[in-house]
C-alpha cells in the first residue's frame, strides 16, 4: 500500500515526523508493505505547497526553505483550506499550532480534510477536546480514519492500547500525570529549586510557552482529560467542564510549603463514571512518597486506566520529546494502513 501524506504544520513535531518516517522506511515496507510520500505541506506563515502531479516533496528536517518553494513543489496555495481541498493526499497529518481550548483553526482543517475525503492523523488535542463526537461521526460517515494517539502523553499507546489491546473492555475511569511542564516544575521545587527556576528550565527545553499558566493552571491537563473522557468514556464534555481545583502557581507554592514529611506534590488529572455522566478534574495533590505517581519525575507522564476486565492498567512514558510525539503519528499512520489493507 502507498499513502500520500499532507502535513499541516511544520514545527518541531512535523519535522521529527519526517525524520522518523525516513528512518523507518525499511521497516514500514518490510513489516507492513507500506510506502509513503509527502505530497503537500502547509504552515501558517508560508501557506501550502503541493507536489507536482505524481511527484513528492523533499522536506528537510531543518524546516522549509526561507524563500521559494521546497524541492518537488509545483503549486502554492496561500489559504490552508484551499490547500487541503487541492492537495491529492490520502492522509492529512495535522500538527499545526493552535488554541487548544477552542481547537481552532485545527478543527476547521480537520473538518475540511475529512470532507474532502482524506484520513486524518493529528497530535492536536483541541479539536478532540471540543468536538470529538462531530469529528468521529463525520469520519465514520465518509468511511475515513480519524486517529489521534499523540494528543495525550505523546506517542505512548493510550487510545491504540484501548482499541487494539483491551478488547471488549469498558473504561470506568482514569487517573494520571499528563502535563510535563507542571511535573518538571513540581519535581524541581521538590528538589529545593524555586518555581521560577523550574519554569525557566521547562521553557529552555521547549516544553513551556512564555506564559506558563496554560500548563500550571491545569488547562492543558483539562484538555487532555476531556479527550480521554470523550474518546474512552463517550463523555461529550469540553475542557471548561473539567473541574480545575486548586491548581495554579499560588497553590503550587502554598501546597509545596505545607507538605508533610515524605509527601510530594503532583498535578493529577482524573475522570470517573458517575451515574450516566463522567466527572473530570485536575487537581494538585499531596501524595505519599510511596505512591506510584510520586516516582514519576521530571517530564515523565503516567496514566492508569480503570477497566472492567483487567482492573487497573498503568502505562508510563519515559520522556517526552518531539520524537515521541512523532512516533504516535507514525503509529496512527500504520493503523490507517492496516485498517485500509483489509
Amino acid at each position: 500500500m502507498h499513502l500520500r501524506l499532507a502535513l499541516i504544520g511544520y514545527g518541531n513535531v512535523g519535522r521529527a515526523f519526517v525524520g522518523l518516517l525516513k528512518g523507518k522506511e525499511g521497516e514500514l515496507s518490510d513489516r507492513y508493505d507500506l510506502t509513503c510520500s509527502i505530497v503537500g505541506v502547509a504552515t501558517r506563515s508560508r501557506g501550502g505547497f503541493i507536489a507536482s502531479e505524481g511527484g513528492s516533496l523533499e522536506l528537510s528536517e531543518a524546516g522549509l526553505p526561507d524563500t521559494g518553494m521546497p524541492p518537488g513543489a509545483a503549486r502554492h496555495e496561500r489559504d490552508t483550506l484551499a490547500f487541503l481541498r487541492a492537495c491529492p493526499a490520502d492522509v492529512v497529518i495535522e500538527v499545526s499550532t493552535l488554541s487548544p481550548l477552542d481547537g481552532q483553526p485545527a478543527l476547521g482543517y480537520m473538518r475540511a480534510a475529512l470532507e474532502s475525503g482524506k484520513h486524518v492523523v493529528t497530535a492536536n488535542k483541541g479539536p478532540l477536546a471540543n468536538a470529538y463526537r462531530e469529528l468521529r461521526d463525520l469520519a465514520a460517515e465518509r468511511g475515513l480514519a480519524l486517529r489521534f494517539e499523540s494528543t495525550v502523553i505523546d506517542g505512548l499507546p493510550v487510545f491504540n492500547l484501548v482499541e487494539f489491546c483491551l478488547p471488549a473492555s469498558r473504561i470506568l475511569g482514569f487517573r494520571g500525570i499528563v502535563n510535563s511542564t507542571s511535573n518538571l516544575v513540581l519535581t524541581r521545587m521538590e528538589e529545593g529549586q524555586t518555581m521560577e527556576a523550574g519554569i525557566a528550565e521547562a521553557q529552555r527545553v521547549g516544553l513551556a510557552e512564555a506564559d506558563p499558566s496554560f500548563d500550571l493552571d491545569g488547562w492543558d491537563a483539562a484538555a487532555k482529560a476531556a479527550v480521554l473522557a470523550n474518546v474512552l468514556m463517550d463523555a461529550g464534555i469540553r475542557p471548561a467542564q473539567v473541574l480545575r481545583e486548586n491548581v495554579n502557581m499560588e497553590a503550587m507554592r502554598a501546597m509545596q510549603a505545607a507538605l508533610g514529611p515524605g509527601q510530594v506534590l503532583r498535578q493529577v488529572a482524573e475522570g470517573r463514571a458517575d451515574g450516566g455522566s463522567v466527572r473530570c478534574a485536575v487537581r494538585l495533590e499531596a501524595l505519599p512518597a510511596t505512591h506510584p505517581f510520586a516516582q514519576v519525575r521530571g517530564t515523565r507522564n503516567i496514566l492508569t486506566l480503570q477497566t472492567d476486565t483487567m482492573r487497573d492498567v498503568t502505562i508510563q512514558e519515559d520522556e517526552c520529546t518531539p520524537r515521541q510525539t512523532a512516533f504516535g503519528l507514525l503509529s496512527d499512520l500504520v493503523a490507517v494502513a492496516r485498517s485500509r489493507g483489509r
Copy 2:
C-alpha cells in the same frame, strides 16, 4: 464471524475464561461481530469431550460434572492428541497444567492443534520458552494464528502492545517484575513478616505450588524472560540459558537482612541485546525505595520495554487473578477474529 473453540485444560483459568466469554457475549457481537461456541474440552483426568455435530458444550464455571459427559457432548476421546484431531474447532484455547521448563505436554498439544489446521491461543509459557521459533514457523506455514498474551503478566498487554501499538519499533531490552509469588513474599518480608508466612499466603491465594521453589528460585521468571526474549528479540534461547544469579530462599533471607535503610528487595527479570545475541538474567536486587519497581507490591507486576522509538515504555498490572489471565485469552481470540476478518 463465528469461532468454534476447544479448551485444553479446565482449571481456574479455563473456567474464568468461560465465565468471561459469557459475560462479554454482547460486546463481542456488537463491537467485533464475533460469536463463539465451545465444541470441545479436554482435561488430563477426564479426557476430551466433543459436542454433537453443529452443537456446542454447555460448560459450568464450577467445572466439569464429576461423572458422565458435560451437557451437549456427544463423543469422548480419552487421548488428548486424538481429541485435538477429532474436534471440529477453529481455535484451540490451550490452558493445560504442565511442566513450564520443557513445555510438555502442552508443546505436543500445540503442535497437534496447528498440524490439524487449528489456530492456537495459549496461556502456557513453557512451549514458547522452549520452542517459539518452531511453533511460530509451523503456524506461519499453515497460515494459522499462534497467540500467547497471557504467558507473561497475565492479560496485561505485552505482546499485543508491541505488535499493535509499537509498530516499526525494535525492542532493545526489557526489565521487570514478572513473578507474583516472589513479589508477594518479598513484600511481606519487607513488612516484617517471615518468609514462611509470605509463602503460606501465596499458597492460600492460589499463586504458589506446595513447593514454592519454582517461583522463588527464579525458574518462573526465567521462563518468562525466555518468552519475552524469544518473541520480542528473536533470541532463540531456553529458560536454562537465562542466568539465575543469587536468586533463591537463602539469598532472599540474607539479602533482606542486609538491606540498607530505605532499600527494598525485588526479583527482577531482564533481557538486553548484546551484540548479535540476547542476554537474559533473573536476580534479586536491592533497590532504593524511590525506584519505580519499589512501589510494585504484593501480586502486582511491572515491565519496562526499551525501544528505539519511544525509549522506555512501562506497563503495570494491578493484580493477577485467573480473570486477568482469562482476559489475555479473550484479547488473543479477538485478535484472531480481527486478522481472519480481513
